[in-house]
Subunit: 105 residues, 2 copies
DNA sequence: TCCATTATTAAAGGATTGTTAAAACGTCAG
DNA sequence: CTGACGTTTTAACAATCCTTTAATAATGGA
């Protein structure tokens, strides 16, 4: 089980429009990831701002990076996000799973 | 599908130690919820601070409240959290579900 | 080596956030 | 009505966050 501080860090990392867009783009891209410059173009964010957000996301464990020549590729790491979701739903409704479902759906 | 702005709002609401503790406490409590004062005692947070955080969580759609006499009961609402998780994992790995799993587990 | 390309870092600002203390609001018992 | 209780609101301050600009690496081609 993740520690609360790490969960908060991951949630905070995603709780920002630009970073959420980065993460989602990388989630849909898959394990190969994208180069920083490609992301900058797709999301229309300046490289400096992007780099700032990469650091936040990486530090939260949500992103992995690898260098290939002059390019740095970023890819989503799902482990922390799964841990985050598990933490939020842990012991849901006193272990009465049905109560967790949306009532009228 | 939730709008990005609403997802950001929900993530931001949970991205704070006190609010995350509030939400988790209410998730494990179930639909009946707890009175504001009970939560204040359990989490050792001042009423004013707590009220401030209730507003943030409620405004994000994560909490519901009902008044009973002098007490206000708060309970977790799972709809927004589920929407948040769905948004994050949407179109995961270009719809290749296996790639979303943690590699070495 | 020199230069263009890719990406990160550092400094500055304006905006947002979290906590506290005080006052105010609603509700119920007497 | 009055007073006590539970909760919310307000104002203020320190702390943090996001963006921009400019400067600083690091890499590969000529």
């Amino acid at each position: 089980m993740m520690k609360p501080a790490q969960v908060v860090k991951a949630l905070a990392a995603l709780a920002q429009p630009t970073r959420l867009a980065i993460y989602r783009l990388l989630v849909s891209t898959g394990p190969d990831g994208l180069a920083a410059g490609q992301i900058a173009v797709k999301l229309k964010v300046s490289p400096a701002t992007l780099s700032f957000h990469f650091k936040t996301l990486s530090h939260a464990g949500l992103l992995e990076s690898r260098q290939d020549g002059r390019f740095v590729y970023y890819a989503a790491n799902f482990t922390v996000m799964h841990g985050m979701v598990d933490y939020l739903t842990e012991n849901c409704c006193g272990s009465d799973a049905n109560a967790c479902k949306t009532p009228g759906k």
